[in-house]
Symmetry: C2
Subunit: 406 residues, 2 copies
Amino acid sequence: MKSPKHTVDIRLQNKQIVMRLLCFHEPMSRMEISQDTTLSPGTVTNVTGELLQEGILAKTGLVESVGGRPRTLLTISPNYGYLIGVDLGETHIQLELFNLARQKLGAIRYGIAESGNTPDYYVEQISSGLKELASSTGIKEEAILGIGIGVPGVVEHNGYVSIAAPMWNWQRVEFLNMLEAKINLPVYIDNGAKAMALAESWFGAGRGVEDMAVILLGTGIGAGIITKGSLYRGATNSAGEWGHTKIELNGRPCRCGSQGCVEAYAGAPGIISSLKTLSGESAKQDEDQIVTIKNLVEAYRAGDSSAVQVLHATAHYLGAGLANLVNLFNPELVVIGGWAGLLIGEAIMDELKKYVAQYALAPSAAHLKIDLCQFGQDAICMGAACLVLEEFLSANKKFMRQSVEG
Amino acid sequence: MKSPKHTVDIRLQNKQIVMRLLCFHEPMSRMEISQDTTLSPGTVTNVTGELLQEGILAKTGLVESVGGRPRTLLTISPNYGYLIGVDLGETHIQLELFNLARQKLGAIRYGIAESGNTPDYYVEQISSGLKELASSTGIKEEAILGIGIGVPGVVEHNGYVSIAAPMWNWQRVEFLNMLEAKINLPVYIDNGAKAMALAESWFGAGRGVEDMAVILLGTGIGAGIITKGSLYRGATNSAGEWGHTKIELNGRPCRCGSQGCVEAYAGAPGIISSLKTLSGESAKQDEDQIVTIKNLVEAYRAGDSSAVQVLHATAHYLGAGLANLVNLFNPELVVIGGWAGLLIGEAIMDELKKYVAQYALAPSAAHLKIDLCQFGQDAICMGAACLVLEEFLSANKKFMRQSVEG
DNA sequence: ATGACTTATTTTAAGATATAAAATAAGTCA
DNA sequence: TGACTTATTTTATATCTTAAAATAAGTCAT
């Protein structure tokens, strides 16, 4: 709903306001809701009354009285509906099922054969995973509010997906349409970093922060940017492509075809390449990136000078790239995530902060906080589920009275 | 007004909706307003009726009938109130007075003695300029809705201004308070590039564009970024500091103290420095930048190879920096302005577009347009006046019925 | 237990707004 | 001049919010 112009719109909007408040501050009594929303107590009674009758809210207990009628606590009914979040990775698919209290009720993970990266294959995997998840948790498909999918690429607004990862090469695939044809549920797709940013800003390291960025360090580098409390998408939903911002005009070649991108230096292959260059080894193509990075961090902790040098250099590149983002967006908080980010995050944090402070302008750098993400492995699934949740919270139809009597 | 919760809020909001529509699409009939806003004809009658009675709207004519009652055209009364926009530059102050139809009714320009850059001096100049402007145009101060000021520095939300330009060195000056103590009008201050971006997006090269960036090329380099139709400010109003994003990790020293900033290469002194380096001359400190750039563009047009080389290099640096901005913000349009931008814009446009397309990712680069700004000299004053206009359009108090009878 | 007091929630009465439909206004055109 | 067309205003009805009054459901001292 854009702007209420009608008296009925007010009721709808007030229901939304109450739902959003409860979603982030459960449980609350009617009085507390009234105070936080500036809605009068009578209105809160009316609004929550409808929501209770519809089964969207539930009473969950009383607050012990301090000399008066005790407050009744209200929450969103955890089982009013369920959310499915899918993390479509370069090497795996993970599906997770949550209730409205964001409790994980089930999960499935598939590895992916290197040859199977066609859209049809993924549609099939997601669709069958969905059924499996529903039956294993005993949840009826009708109770699922929708399915959100985070993908490692660019998603246009009409659901066209482009993924440039090696072995993939999807170009404007009509993925949303394909999924909707196969799956009888509302489907939402977005870039994985964007989804993760949503999860971290709503329920993770950035609870309550209005302007923040979530940085995803993995094989590739991405970012999700939250402005004014909601996901920043730009004109065609491809905002936040931080991994391919340039910090060296004639720098290292990047897999995107350009040179000097942040990703070329601070993506896992970039870090490994720095390491090999320093030690004179040639990079082994098939070596396990995760193991290599883990070993690097261990060596760093042990004081190994090459490891220190490489991680400092990585912090330097990241700091310069992050300073550009900070100068442009002026966020209050930057959250570091992604598997590589989780591994190296603590080790590089001090250096990273130092370089950001050095390269970013003082007014933006002064109040900036940098933290690590809170949802490790589950961040993208969680974020994908948040795409559904976001829709649920603004889904006026859900809050409309379908049949009124008396 | 954040979210209407009350029936009276609806009326206020609908007044705002109508005002904004008229501000950008004058003149319109009630029927057209009804269609564009989805408000019913009866409501439009009520809303415009109040606005007409308050003198905010006026009838300006009829549309010739095509076989029915002719439409009455409505506009915002141009003389309901006036706006003052101030361009506080590094070397001048310019004040302009506009009516609500954005017609310039008067202007004053002061040069600035190099020694006079104290806050007190500027407060004095603005305050006396204001009086002069009012008396020379014959407009009463009570009719002035407010005064907007664009400054070449960072403005925090509480009105603390920091300007790092040579000769200035303002650090968190309480400029807003100082002005408000002296001037008996609503005062709004913001960064000049931000103000200019507002003007270009509302009434200039970006009319109707929701996501865009305005790039200011002058002695310094700044940017104003419009997202979802309004100015993007970030957490502490210092977003958009594009001039100090880095494109070379160990690049040219910049006056900000860092290295490799876009400004160091493509600000006027940076361009001139490129030119001197190429020709082997040492840069003369006191040479007039404007003249030098003008000569450079003339030489370029005449096919001078050094000039071509320098402007191509400038386009290269700008293109790389702009690609970073485009990757992060995914705007629909980039507008080039500022005095240097106006001079070199046409000459470098093709090369600039080429480099942006080369460095930015395809999904963001594909739909991007790059244009020149439309308000040359007046852009910052115009934008500063838009700060007042923005406030006017969302000033509920103005639209409240002060005294209702019958 | 009882009455006084306290706090939470619901009910009620009044005021405001929007819309749809009907009425009116102000033209064109043959 | 009358039929027709389109714009705007008026009217009747349904909602909504709030403030204030009424109820509900406790605590606490006696």
